[in-house]
Symmetry: C2
């Protein structure tokens, strides 16, 4: 059987798992691909380090550029992460007409459409299934299925770290800081967790999904983003009592014309909603489209083994599709971002009532007066009040909260979150 040379950049958790699968299962993969993907060259930071498995006849180099330049390599697998030097290496490979497989969400979110056009220009492939949801094949699903549908919205839990933290806050009744420490100890959060807890990781993934679903490229900075640092144990606990679970919801929707809205925000998810019980490190993506309606893909969306699953699947696909013409990416429309007056959300507010007589009634009346319906109001001990607010433009919500903050009936607004129902 013919073989196709594979070069691998990085031999960490993901790269190591990819190398092992390519070496151990070359026969199975070859059968599926129609030619054997043969690992020829690997770039590692420390060439002297032992790997715990036999790299056999694979050339091991310290300079990733040497892998890209190796004439025996037809497909470059990028598994080093970060934007620099990953972006330049991917560009160099594509310019050399080599197909690239990458798990790099930061690179694809920032430069996916440009790299995709570059790939087509040089008749090379660009595959990035692992960049969102790791082994969960959401990229393949958006690229290869639903081609007769108009996709209206995406609703996702696509960051494992924040979901592990929020799950722990609820189930153990602890604070954000405590749950973060626990996630760190269990290997679910990095020493510097900013990328995850500030929502950037979810933003990158959502930008990629929105690109494939809507044919628009939104800059990560253009996404309405709020992380989970300010989510309090009190809100998570109070919501749990009402049947809600707080998740970092990544949502994208298409408005009229070419307008879109992308947001990543902690959101209270109501009972019966498909995302309600997606706990811990599970990922889930809900796609709403006009013919199919609502579908969900759910499963493990992180970890070396899961990410390797997607990378190796991409390698097999790349080998399978070698020699077939690379399709030019669809022309991108320039997105108009929906304004806060057009984005409709429901909400959750927890506040401290003042001792003023009729404070509770005045608060609820003030909300209604400002165009925000009250779906439910729940009294907690100590004159705390929870209000579940109805769907209204975000701008209307925000103005109503500002008003509440000025009322003598309200001592303090203690927490506010978006809310979605089944």
């Amino acid at each position: 059987m013919e073989s196709v040379g594979i070069g691998l950049l990085g031999l960490g958790t993901v790269g190591g798992a990819v190398a092992r699968r390519l070496i151990d299962e070359w026969e199975l993969l070859g059968e599926r691909a129609g030619a054997t993907p043969a690992l020829r060259c690997v770039a590692v930071r420390d060439t002297s380090r032992s790997r715990g498995f036999d790299l056999k006849n694979v050339r091991v180099v310290g300079d990733p550029q040497a892998v890209v330049a190796d004439p025996a390599v037809a497909i470059v697998v990028e598994a080093i992460g970060g934007t620099d030097p990953a972006t330049a290496l991917i560009e160099a490979a594509l310019r050399a007409g080599k197909t690239v497989v990458t798990a790099n969400k930061a690179v694809i979110a920032a430069s996916g459409p440009r790299l995709s056009a570059l790939a087509a220009e040089h008749d090379a492939g660009l595959y990035f299934e692992a960049s969102v949801g790791a082994g969960l094949p959401i990229i393949g699903l958006l690229r290869g299925s639903l081609l007769g549908d108009r996709i209206a919205a995406l609703d996702c839990v696509i960051n494992g770290t924040t979901n592990v933290i929020l799950t722990q806050m609820r189930s153990a009744g602890v604070s954000y800081e405590s749950a973060l420490g626990d996630a760190r100890r269990r290997g679910f959060a990095e020493a510097d967790p900013s990328l995850d807890v500030d929502g950037w990781d979810a933003v990158h993934k959502l930008v990629i999904l929105a690109w494939l679903a809507f044919g628009v490229h939104v800059a990560p900075d253009g996404v309405d983003r709020r992380g989970i640092r300010d989510v309090t144990g009190a809100d998570v606990g109070a919501l749990a009592q009402l049947g809600y679970r707080v998740r970092l919801l990544a949502h994208a929707e298409r408005g009229s014309g070419d307008s879109v809205h992308l947001r990543v925000r902690p959101t209270a998810v109501g009972p019966g909603h498909l995302l309600h019980d997606v706990d811990d490190a599970d990922n889930a993506v809900i796609i709403s489209s006009d013919l199919e309606g609502t579908m969900m893909l759910r499963g493990l969306g992180a970890g070396g083994s899961s990410t390797a699953s997607a990378v190796v699947s991409d390698v097999v696909t790349a080998v399978r599709e070698r020699g077939t013409p690379v399709v030019n990416p669809a022309a991108l429309t320039v997105p108009t971002m929906l304004g806060d007056a057009d984005v409709e959300v429901a909400g959750y507010v927890r506040l401290q009532l003042s001792a003023e007589p009729e404070a509770r009634a005045l608060v609820l009346q003030a909300l209604e007066d400002r165009g925000v319906a009250v779906d439910a109001a729940v009294d907690l001990t100590g004159s705390e009040l929870i209000v579940l607010t109805g769907v209204a433009p975000r701008a209307v919500h925000d103005r109503a909260l500002e008003t509440l903050d000025t009322l003598t009936s309200v001592d303090q607004i203690l927490g506010a979150l978006d809310r979605v129902e089944a």
Copy 2:
């Protein structure tokens, strides 16, 4: 833009929805496909009937063979259902080098691998996304993703009719016959519901999924099949009290070597299991594989609109992939079916104890003596006893039940089902 001629066999619910989408959205579909799929010819049973939408310049014929033979048609969409004459029409199209898109699960279950080989022989494509789970893109997922994984098992709810009936039996506390009548009135069950309630529809779909997941072709007759006619309201109700929901579970697993096991059986699904809350007409497929672990695809898996979603997506894919070489299907291994001694299941038994002293203890002892563990035993009124039995080979389970039936401690075995836990 170049156009590719589409011929459509059948203009019922599915065919009509496909035709409407092809006509209304030709521009969008053309952008996605790289060439416009242009509906050229439609075969209907009654050419004089009005359709409620404008077929414009499409040629309408009474003889489906005329569509296949039409030189303007490059892709034949088969939407007439049943095996005869659908199989012969598909064969004729493939032999003429025309690509076929079909929603026909009976044809693909019986003849998928043979037709797939025939397609490759004539350099034609064969697409059948709609044959399982309608618009839920499970076929695309198994064909195009997880190519680096070894799939170990599939667990599916893939028949809407039985799930609607079983959901109604639980939520309304009614009998099978009553729930069937209700499903008929709501359009979820046909006048003759045998294909659904006897499990054949799920068997066909499972055979197709197992083909793609394991590379084996199991004849529908070779599947361990039990329908839902004998499921009693008493069992569904008693299980609901314990937190279980009964579903017609379609399960496929790979044993050692080339052995596989496929079964379709009513099964009690425990709390926390991914299939637990897949109620009504929802479909769901869980794939367990070695690198990715467990993933689930869930959504609407029936109906004209959902089925049309898959058919049109296949048409776009077929147009997109025109001119690229058709990959020969992987060589099929001849499956060995796992025997009842190797297939391990957990169970549920409801029985009527006799008035014999110590009857309850004797029953539980008899089970343990025959190698079946007792996970839990629950007493109902009227000396009924429920036993949740532990995982053991099916043969061991069956022999233990036969033994119970002979005991003087047991008046009658009232119900028995498989059981799965989270």
